[in-house]
C-alpha cells in the first residue's frame, strides 16, 4: 500500500522532471508519507504489545505518528536535502517527538517563514509581549540533512501529533 501511494506522486514528479531537466530525472529523491497510530494488541505469545497500524480513522485526542520515508533512487548525489512538514490542521505537535538520523531538526512558529531550535522560538501576544513558544505553537517541522545523500541512501524522519 505504501509503495503504491508513493508511486503515483513519483510518476507525477518524473513527468515534471522530464519536461524540465531530463538529466536530473535520474537523480531523484523519492518520498513516502505514512500516518500511523499505536494500538495495544496481543501477540502470538499472548502478550500485550504496542503495534503500529495505518491510521484510517482517528479519535480526537489520539496521537498520530507521521513518518516520511526517503530514498535517493537516482544515480547522483542529492545535496542540501531538506524535508519540511507542516503540522497538519487540527493537530498539535507532541513535544520532543521529532526524530531524524543525521538531520538537524528545527521548527517554525510563523507558518514556515523562519525556523529555529525550540529554545530560540518565541511568540508574541497582541500587546507585543514575548513568550517562549510551546509545542502547540509549532506550525512546521524541518529536517536538514548534514551530509549529502548518495545514490541508494534511504531512511526516515518522523514526528507525532495529537488530534484536537
Amino acid at each position: 500500500m505504501q509503495l503504491k501511494r508513493a508511486f503515483i506522486p513519483g510518476i507525477v514528479i518524473i513527468l515534471v522532471a522530464l519536461s524540465a531537466v531530463w538529466a536530473h530525472a535520474q537523480g531523484q529523491v523519492q518520498l513516502t508519507s505514512v500516518a500511523e497510530v499505536e494500538v495495544e494488541r496481543f501477540n502470538q505469545e499472548g502478550k500485550k504489545e504496542v503495534q503500529r497500524i495505518k491510521a484510517t480513522k482517528v479519535l480526537p485526542g489520539n496521537e498520530v505518528i507521521f513518518t516520511t520515508l526517503y530514498e535517493n533512487t537516482g544515480k547522483e548525489v542529492a545535496e542540501n536535502a531538506v524535508i519540511t512538514n507542516p503540522v497538519p490542521e487540527h493537530m498539535i505537535y507532541a513535544q520532543n517527538s521529532a526524530r531524524g538520523m543525521g538531520t538537524r531538526i528545527t521548527f517554525s512558529v510563523d507558518g514556515g517563514k523562519t525556523y529555529d531550535s525550540p529554545s530560540k522560538l518565541f511568540i508574541f501576544d497582541a500587546s507585543g509581549r514575548k513568550f517562549p513558544a510551546r509545542p502547540q505553537d509549532y506550525t512546521h517541522i524541518r529536517w536538514s540533512f548534514g551530509e549529502p545523500l548518495p545514490p541508494g541512501a534511504k531512511g526516515e524522519v518522523s514526528f507525532r501529533a495529537i488530534l484536537q
Binding site: S33, L149, L163
Partner: protein, 347 residues
Amino acid sequence: MFRLKEEKKWRHTLSGLVGLVCATSLLLGITAPAWALGTVAGTVIANTATATYTMGADPTPQTVTAMDSFEVLEVINTVVVWQDAADVTVNTPQTERPLTFLLTNTGNGPEAFTFTYNDAMGADDFDPIAQLIWLESNGQPGLQTTGSPADSVLGAATPDLPADGSLLVYLLSNIPSGLGDGQTGRVSLTAAANTIGAAGAAAGTELPGAGLNGGTAIVGNSNGDSEAVGTYVVAAVNVQLTKSIAAIEDLSGGSEPYPGARVTYRLTVQIGGSGAAEALTITDTIPTDMTYLPGSIVLDGTSQSDAVDVPADQTDFNVTSANTVTVELENTVAPATHTIEFTTTIN
C-alpha cells in the same frame, strides 16, 4: 369581623423574580464553556511532507512531496447542565413552572437527542409533577409559550445539534398545593443521544454504521447520555391577623365596658414565609352597637386620617367600605409585622 381582601393575589407575586432568574440563565447559557472534542467527525486530516535538494553543479532546487491522510472518527458525547441561577421559586399550587437546562452536543458529529425525566426523586420535600418539555426556538430570553413566534414544544427528539451545538431546554412541572414555605422538590432531566445503541453504552463502544457518512461512531465518556437535576423551592407568604382589645376607658376613668366607654382595638398583621403579600388590604367593620371615634386610626404608631389620601396615608374609614376601617398595606415583603389600632365608643 374582619377579612383579608384579594387573598388570591399573594399567590402570584413572584413572576418578576422568575423573569430575573430566566434572564440570568440565558447569560449563563451564552458563557457556558465548550466541552466538545474538537475536530468535527469526518474531517480529512492530510499530512504533506516536502523534500528539496540540489544535484551536482545545478543550484536549482528539486522538490518532491508525499502525502497521507486519515479521517476523524465520530464520538458521541453530551452534557446537560441545569441553568437556573438558584432554586426556582414556586407558589403552592402552581402550574407549568419551568426549570431551564442547557443541552450541549459535546461529540464531534451532528446528533439529535431525546429526553426522559424523573420527578419522583428523593432528597427533597415534595414531588413536582413534570408535564412537558419546551425547546428554546424563538431567540428571546426565557420561555415564551405564547406569542409569535413562541418557543417550541419538544417533538419526538430535538433537531440535529451540530458538534459543539447547544440548546436551552425547559422542563415544566406542576407544583402541588398545600406546601410549606422553603420546601424543595427536585426533578432530573436526562438527554440521550438518538443514535441507536449509544445511550447507556460503555465509553469506547463501537457502533458500526452509526457514524457520520455511515462510518463507525464511538461512544464517549458520557455514555451517550447525560443527566442534570433542577430544584424548585416554595416561596409561600402567609399572613396572620390577630385582633385584641388594647384598652377600655369608661366615663368614670375606669376600664369597664359600659355604654359611653371607649374601646381601642389592636390588629396585628404578621407576614411570614418568603416572597411578598401583594395588594394586602385589612378591613374591619365596626359592630352595630359601637361607633367609630373619628381620627382614631393609628398605623405602626402613627396617626392616620379617615380620608382616602394615599400616599399620604394608607387608611380610611367609611370611604372604601361603609362603617369600616380599611388599611391598604399594598405589597409587603415577608417577614414584616404591622400594628393597626382604632377606637370605638360603646353606644
